[in-house]
Symmetry: C2
Subunit: 168 residues, 2 copies
Amino acid sequence: MAENGRTSGNETLLFLTDDQLRKGIEAMFFAYRGFTADPDRILSDKGYGRAHHRAIHFINRTPGTTVNNLLSILGVTKQSLNRVLRTLIEDGLVKSEVGTRDKRERHLYLTATGSELEQELSNAQRDRMRAAFRQTGPEAVAGFRQVLEAMMDSDMRRHFARLKETGV
Amino acid sequence: MAENGRTSGNETLLFLTDDQLRKGIEAMFFAYRGFTADPDRILSDKGYGRAHHRAIHFINRTPGTTVNNLLSILGVTKQSLNRVLRTLIEDGLVKSEVGTRDKRERHLYLTATGSELEQELSNAQRDRMRAAFRQTGPEAVAGFRQVLEAMMDSDMRRHFARLKETGV
DNA sequence: TTGGAATGTCAACAAGGCTGACATAAAATC
DNA sequence: GATTTTATGTCAGCCTTGTTGACATTCCAA
């Protein structure tokens, strides 16, 4: 057994028992399904998938971002991202502009149509998150955010922290 | 704009601004990657994927569960689950027993080998969760769990609640 | 000038979702 | 007893989204 909920100082930490940790794990599993359910529905109507949503979300968040930066945020291969970007560009949701300083780079932006879809997706996702936040209150929300941030890999935490500063 | 962080009663709810909600959304995205990262590494070494992990996890949690029950927890099609179960049974990680009362049903159990893998996976996942819980403290953990539960679809919340009672 | 970085593209493949169709056995119902 | 429904398995085929490997282009930088 890896953990019994007690520290060496004999202080009982009930929230660290295997049982509590398992509940946290299962909560993450079930909640993530809810988290993606609404956008998934909207996307599948339009012939897109979760990968398109992710690309659209982060292009919206950091307009003009390069492909490489997006790759490192999304953690996929360039071939995989490229397939998604190609369809989004073909469909006129994303535009790709050759860099001025460095012409190798492509800077990515949402078009008006792309922004519309982004709004639709993020409204749906925010609605659910808002309901959950409202229902549980600010202290729960603070805890929620703290635990999630502590659970990230350091690379992802870096991206998250950078995005946090870019407020609306 | 869908939300401005104020109620009709003019009470400012800073944690409900679009910006706060967006941070919650991005936190979920990045944290889920961390959440699955360690098991994914272990699984890919053995030629399995996340789908196998999910099956193994819930068979371990409710030994003797039927295929139908597992389907409803996992939210996939029987064809999809069957493919995963078949390989797990062939590889001797899961055993399937015909029901005694209802002989149409198959009851699923982990074998000793299956239990070993389950332990390895859940230890890895718990290690990360434990580190995050320890780092943030019991109040944050309580909030984390509350918000996640509020974010679930009602079907999933039902499953979650049922599993919660089955303590270790 | 040469090396390396950023990007794109082509091909092939795998996991794991999906639908639809069909088979079987057993339970439930009429 | 006959019929219908349920639980499960299986086959075939499709889609999305991930992977690796190979190769071309462009262009910055040493």
